[in-house]
């Protein structure tokens, strides 16, 4: 299981209803089902991943939230809505965040922090688009459309009156450090938010 998911599983209430947007192969939901007895549902667009979800016995819906939105989900119909490492690849990330807050009582988001100091150095010193373990792509083949920083996301939360329940900033191995706590937007590689309204 991806490391960011290991961290956020503690934020999921046992027996709750969880919607995982961009659920991949469904391993996170399968794990939550096993360990926390959640009612699971994943959204996915990749045919191979959907097949893996079926094999894992995870409920999965083939739906492109960028194209079709999330209007087919009723308000408050899930306890937790998860969007892991996908925010930056959406066409209208702010609208999806709004929809997540409408559908779920609380939401968990993870995204790579574009303002991580190595990324800054790459631009500043080399004048090249940053590449790192959290941003492994070239500029021309990246699926990421809307890079954002921790400060950017905090600003969005403030403007949209989103309550941040918890925020963790971690490195690739999902470890935090004093430096990251001191200057999250400078030292943090990945941001993990638990939000509600």
């Amino acid at each position: 299981m991806r490391a960011d998911l290991v961290l956020i599983q503690d934020w999921i209430t046992p027996g709750s209803r969880v919607l995982d947007l961009g659920c991949g192969d469904g391993s996170f939901l399968a794990h939550l089902k096993r360990t926390k007895n959640v009612r699971d549902l994943g959204l996915e667009i990749d045919a191979d991943n959907i097949q893996l979800c079926l094999e894992a016995g995870v409920n999965v819906i083939e739906q492109d939230m960028d194209k079709n939105g999330l209007a087919n989900f009723e308000s408050g119909s899930f306890d937790t809505v998860v969007l892991a490492q996908t925010l930056q690849a959406l066409h209208k990330p702010d609208e999806i965040v709004e929809e997540m807050l409408r559908i779920g009582r609380n939401c968990i988001l993870t995204f790579p922090n574009f303002a991580y100091w190595r990324h800054r150095v790459s631009l500043l010193r080399h004048g090249r688009m940053p590449k790192s373990s959290s941003l492994p792509y070239e500029w021309y083949n990246t699926p990421n459309l809307h890079h954002c920083t921790i400060s950017d996301f905090d600003a969005l939360c403030a403007r949209s009156k989103i309550r941040v329940l918890r925020r963790t900033v971690v490195d690739d191995k999902q470890h935090s450090s004093a430096l990251m706590q001191w200057r999250p937007n400078f030292f943090g590689i990945n941001a993990i938010y638990h939000i509600t309204r």
Partner: protein, 402 residues
Amino acid sequence: MTTSVKQIPADSVGLVKPQKLHFAEPLTLRSGRKIDRYDLMVETYGELNADRSNAVLICHALSGDHHAAGYYDPANPKEKPGWWDCCIGPGKPFDTNKFFIVCLNNLGGCAGSTGPSSENPETGKRFGPDFPIIAVRDWVKSQALLADRLGIQQWAAVIGGSLGGMQVIRWAISYPERLRHALVIAAAPKLSAQNIAFNEVARQSIMSDPEFHNGRYYEHNTYPRKGVTLARMVGHITYLSDALMREKFGKDTATGRFGRDLRGGKLTFDFNESDFQVQSYLQYKGEAFSKNFDANTYLLITKMLDYFDPSVDYGGDLSKAFLTGSCKFLVISFSSDWRFAPERSRELVEILLKAKRDVSYLEIEADEGHDAFLLPIPRYMAALRAYMNRVADECMTAGGKS
């Protein structure tokens, strides 16, 4: 003795034999009328396990019947297998090594079950137009009685495509405690105006055939061949996609001539001749169908389709129908299906989500139109296999928990 005249594939259920089961108890129909006694033609594949937890019901569509898999005649090398043979058999998605699979010809059909072409015991003549109108819920009711007869309290899964999928929807509403999984393929929660329009053209073509005789053509020793042919031709167009027809009819489709070389200057005002491949194809399909399918059954079943709308009992909100029950759903649609397009399946998914039911949904990329649900499209087969493997695991571990 296996003196095999023809090669039956190893993953086939092999030679099968239908059974005719008689039901002597009257069945009260939605219309208020009754069928006093009736027969159902049934085929089964695989073995029912000790705790009777591995039974699967296959529901057929408009023109289907009980013969879903396998062969009848060991001497006929040209015989085609049952209509869903690609899915049913040892090692196939509906694996006969794991499941006991039941398929029946529905009431009102023309493949051996009691229908308009059966003899009416009251008159000694064929029912014809006197046969009562049947609703999808009546079919499901008769299927539940069949389950009772076979000793099946709860189906591991009920599966169907198109009109078959509508029976699955009805199962989950009428008998929510009697199935654990509902597989609804290429279906819709109700028909659209366009669907009904096509059905109406089909019915009008049958009824306008002089050989129809108000549905009593049996007594005139004839049948409305032309009317049924035409009805099927129209129906068939709606089962295919534009892309598939382009591809299918003529190697010269790149030039858009579809099997007809107009450069030769051979233009005629003769309408008995087929200029284009698609014409002779539809004629052939339609005529072959008209020989085997009863016109009154066609009329009856298109009416059933038109009337299908389980939301009427729930003030138009179908999600309320799914508030009881815990069966899980797998909904599948095909990208080029315009008879019951993916949007129609998404409607159903939305309804199920609103009712907080467990549902998975796949939209399979396929050029074959509505007919895709009958075909061994790799992604479709893999998905059915994966899902049914989970269903089989449940049968093993839980012994059919409800």
